[in-house]
């Protein structure tokens, strides 16, 4: 061996047989060491998930995590507000309602954490390079996130398990404080997670493909262009979602109720859930406008891809879904008038309101600026459909949606006023003032909608601000007037809780399914506008799944996620029912009447 080595060092030829062995050994070593290293190099970029592929695997895990996260963020907001009302009114039924949902939260937290862990494991194994990049920038915020999640969980346990112990006096206020703290932690956790995903959409302008992740400043990455608009949009959307889930749960329990008392309780719960969901829904579009504006301001190409590029058809589906939401929510309220003494006087108006809503949905769902190929352009006879092109522009769409919001608000107002007879001296003047405010808002909306056709596009965009401002101002003015009008108002009779038609409960179920599906669709829109970029114009997706899929595929994945989520939430509800303490009194004995559940308006200061 030594001889051979000396020969080699001296440049002498080795004996051929030994040379072959040496070459073979060297090749084997290279095969063992170099080839696996090359394979690892390729594997470090992307992993492979069998069957559905890496993209769908991460998509489903992220979507389910997000849906549970929305549930565990939205429901505590609902619970703490309801608990506060119970304290203010000294009414244990509100307190029981809050507790009933907090019990479900304890189980839902586990599901949220499990799906979060699944998501992280999938990202680590399937998209290791991307995840490494992101974690190098956000590592500190990730540690804080985990710590806060831990603290949030234990705050929840204290909040729920301390309910019976801290139920009176100052201790009850401390308990309420725990609920508020729970919401603070939850919202902070959401804001941190939002910074990661919004950075993927809108990294700071000074970050380029050549920027090492370690050189990106943490705060500039967090406070990126779309971070705060997404925070606010999600915050409001979570309230909507929480209310809708409560409504869906109540509908399920109403339909399966065994007694009148149970039916009355869940009728009341469904009404409160729907009230909170739709109230928050009415302001959600404004947060959406802000987010859209920031996306355009950050990058015109991204904005155009979102609204007029390959995603343009997505907004037609969104319009359809929101149309369903408006119609179902109003239908529920109109049916509810039937169980309110005095509600019948408003029923004749509902057919006209239905007409406004249907026309509004049709206008809103009219396609306008769509990607079209040469043949489609020829078939249309121009760049836009000769008739629908007029309806599809933003002037018409903004007008339609603002009138739909006003109509829905009017439904709420009718519902609120149904069993009241104002006694203040200025009652008639006040009612006329309310009608005038709504009428004026409608005139402003229609005026700018029509005027928008006669001005350039950049001027027209500004008109939506006037339309939105008029609607919001009218809503605020009418609510304030109504609270003053309701002072000391006479009752036309108690609401007959439980006497709600079953089809109203199916409307609530359609609402929760539609909200959940819409959440999935909007998640796809937000994520999909990055197209083949993990991080927009910074880190390209070079995997086999880089292309953003068409809406058909997306719709199928979203549907699967919604089915899985609702299935699991149903299971959680069932688990909760195993340790249920009835939050309602059983049917009273003959001759003794259980007092009806209060209305939310009554609890908030109005007259029942």
């Amino acid at each position: 061996m030594m001889r051979g080595r000396r020969r080699w060092l001296a440049g002498e030829p080795a004996r051929p047989r030994r040379m072959r062995w040496a070459a073979w050994l060297a090749a084997a070593l290279v095969a063992c060491m170099v080839e696996p290293a090359a394979a690892q190099e390729a594997a470090r970029q992307y992993g492979h998930f069998p069957g559905i592929g890496s993209r769908a695997a991460v998509w489903i895990a992220a979507q389910l995590h997000l849906m549970f996260a929305a549930f565990v963020l939205g429901v505590p907001m609902f619970a703490v507000v309801v608990e506060a009302i119970g304290i203010a009114k000294q009414d244990s039924r509100f307190d029981n309602l809050a507790k009933e949902f907090t019990r479900l939260l304890v189980i839902a937290y586990s599901a949220t954490a499990i799906w979060g862990a699944v998501l992280v494991f999938l990202l680590t194994t399937l998209y290791p390079a991307f995840w490494g990049h992101l974690s190098e920038i956000f590592e500190v915020s990730m540690w804080i996130y985990v710590g806060l999640f831990f603290i949030e969980s234990f705050t929840l346990y204290l909040y729920y398990y301390g309910w019976a112990r801290w139920k009176k006096g100052r201790a009850k206020l401390v308990h309420l404080g725990l609920g508020i703290l729970l919401n603070v932690w939850g919202t902070t956790v959401m804001f941190i997670a939002d910074s990661w995903l919004s950075y993927m959409m809108s990294p700071p302008a000074n970050v380029t493909p050549d920027t090492a992740p370690g050189m990106v400043q943490l705060w500039s990455a967090i406070a990126n262009a779309t971070w705060m608009p997404i925070n606010i949009h999600r915050l409001i959307a979570n309230v909507v979602f929480g209310g809708a889930v409560v409504g869906g749960y109540a509908a399920y329990r109403f339909l399966n109720a065994k007694s009148n008392a149970e039916r009355a309780h869940y009728d009341w719960m469904g009404y409160i859930g729907n009230f909170i969901a739709i109230s928050a829904l009415l302001i959600l579009p404004f947060a959406g406008y802000w987010l859209g504006r920031e996306i355009y301001a950050y990058n015109q190409s991204m904005g155009i891809t979102m609204m007029g590029g390959f995603m343009s058809w997505l907004w037609i589906i969104q319009a359809f879904l929101i149309g369903v939401l408006f119609l179902a929510a109003n239908y529920y309220l109109w049916l509810g008038l039937g169980r309110i003494p005095g509600g019948e006087r408003f029923v004749p108006y509902t057919k006209w309101m239905l007409l406004v809503l249907v026309v509004g949905v049709v206008v809103w769902a009219t396609p306008h600026t769509m990607i079209a190929d040469r043949d489609e352009l020829v078939a249309m006879g121009g760049t836009h459909h000769p008739f629908l092109g007029v309806l599809g522009v933003m002037s018409a769409k903004n007008t339609a949606v603002n009138l739909m919001i006003l109509t829905t608000f009017l439904s709420f107002l009718m519902y609120r006023r149904a069993n009241k007879r104002p006694v203040v001296a200025w009652a008639r003047t006040g009612t006329v003032a309310q009608a005038t405010a709504l009428l004026l808002a409608s005139v402003v909306v229609i005026f700018y909608g029509v005027y928008g056709y006669f001005v350039p596009a950049n001027v027209r965009i500004g008109f939506s601000v006037y339309q939105v401002a008029a609607v919001l101002l009218a809503i605020v003015a009418v609510v304030v007037l109504d609270m003053l009008l309701s002072r000391g108002a006479e009752s036309r009779g108690e609401i007959r809780w439980g006497e709600m038609p079953e089809r109203a409960q199916y409307a609530l179920l359609v609402l929760v399914v539609t909200f959940t599906w819409l959440m999935g669709l909007m998640g796809f829109a937000r994520s999909g506008i990055r197209q083949h970029w993990h991080i927009w114009e910074v880190m390209r997706d070079t995997s086999e799944w880089a292309a953003t899929p068409a809406l058909g595929y997306a719709g199928t994945v979203i549907s699967a996620c919604v089915l899985l989520f609702l299935g699991m939430i149903g299971f959680i509800f069932w688990l909760g029912s195993l340790i249920e303490e009835p939050a309602y009194a059983e049917d009273p004995a003959p001759g003794r009447e259980e007092p009806p559940p209060p209305t939310l308006e009554a609890a908030l200061g109005g007259t029942p």
Binding site: N299, G309, W517, P549
Partner: protein, 263 residues
């Protein structure tokens, strides 16, 4: 029976939405593929490659397909004919090929009347050979294709040379640090007034140093949409946020110090 009805309503609603999503036209966002062209590529092959990019990964149709946000490139535009015909008439003394190339690599140099300057530099997402194929495709819309294999080959060599020299976006004005030259190259004077040049679309450069310090000017260049100058709210969002990528640090500081000195 009740639970069965609930299940049917829930699943039926989900299926309805899934069916709707599958019923509409299906458009997938394609990924720009690396372009491999043989040395003897024909004009027809260039046109075909350009058409694929135009309708797919190039993302051109989002604005140009309909003529709503940007000039229609696949048909007649306001009676001026298809792009292959009108391209030579747009800018005096500029032939069709040069005009189309410039419109994609320096889109704010000439903005067609009636449209906003929203087009990004195509080099941010496409390679130069890919841009040449788009030029060929557009020339083919009623005109004569003059792009050749040599153009693509020359650009590929240049790109290779650039990569060897450090890569990154090509420096503006050939890497010059002369602020006035840079202001011209970056087309700042299209919107900002300096002496007797420029338009009043954005805040004037004249006297800028008296209104803003160097930090504010630098921020205005790098993050133009972060703040809006008083009196220019209507034009918010117009200025491209790409100068941080187009200018190197020396060039940026040269412009900043120059503008800060205009009192």
């Amino acid at each position: 029976m009740t639970n069965l009805k609930i299940f049917a309503v829930v699943v039926g609603t989900i299926l309805l939405y899934a069916a709707l999503a599958n019923a509409i036209p299906q458009v997938q966002s394609a990924v720009p593929q690396e372009l491999v062209l043989a040395g003897d590529v024909t004009p027809e092959q260039l046109v075909a490659a350009g058409e694929d990019l135009f309708n797919g990964a190039g993302g051109c149709t989002a604005c140009h397909g309909l003529g709503a946000r940007a000039p229609n490139l696949i048909g007649d535009e306001a009676g001026t004919g298809p792009i292959g015909v009108r391209c030579a008439e747009r800018v005096p003394a500029t032939d069709c090929r040069s005009y189309l190339w410039e419109s994609m690599t320096d889109p704010s140099a000439y903005v067609v009347e009636g449209y906003d300057p929203i087009m990004p530099d195509a080099r941010r997402t496409l390679s130069e050979p890919q841009i040449w194929t788009l030029v060929a495709f557009l020339q083919n819309q009623g005109g004569t294709v003059s792009v050749t294999a040599e153009d693509v080959a020359v650009e590929e060599e240049a790109a290779a040379g650039g990569a060897a020299g450090g890569g990154g976006a090509p420096a503006l004005a050939g890497g010059s640090t002369d602020p006035e030259e840079l202001l011209q190259a970056a087309t700042c004077l299209v919107c900002h007034q300096l002496g007797d040049q420029g338009a009043a679309i954005g805040p004037p450069f004249d006297g800028m140093g008296a209104r803003l310090d160097a930090d504010a000017i630098r921020r205005g260049i790098l993050l133009p949409n972060a703040d809006t100058a008083a009196g220019f709210a209507a034009m918010a969002g117009t200025m491209p946020a790409t100068f941080g990528e187009q200018l190197n640090a020396t060039q940026l500081e040269s412009i900043v110090q120059y503008l800060a000195g205009l009192r």
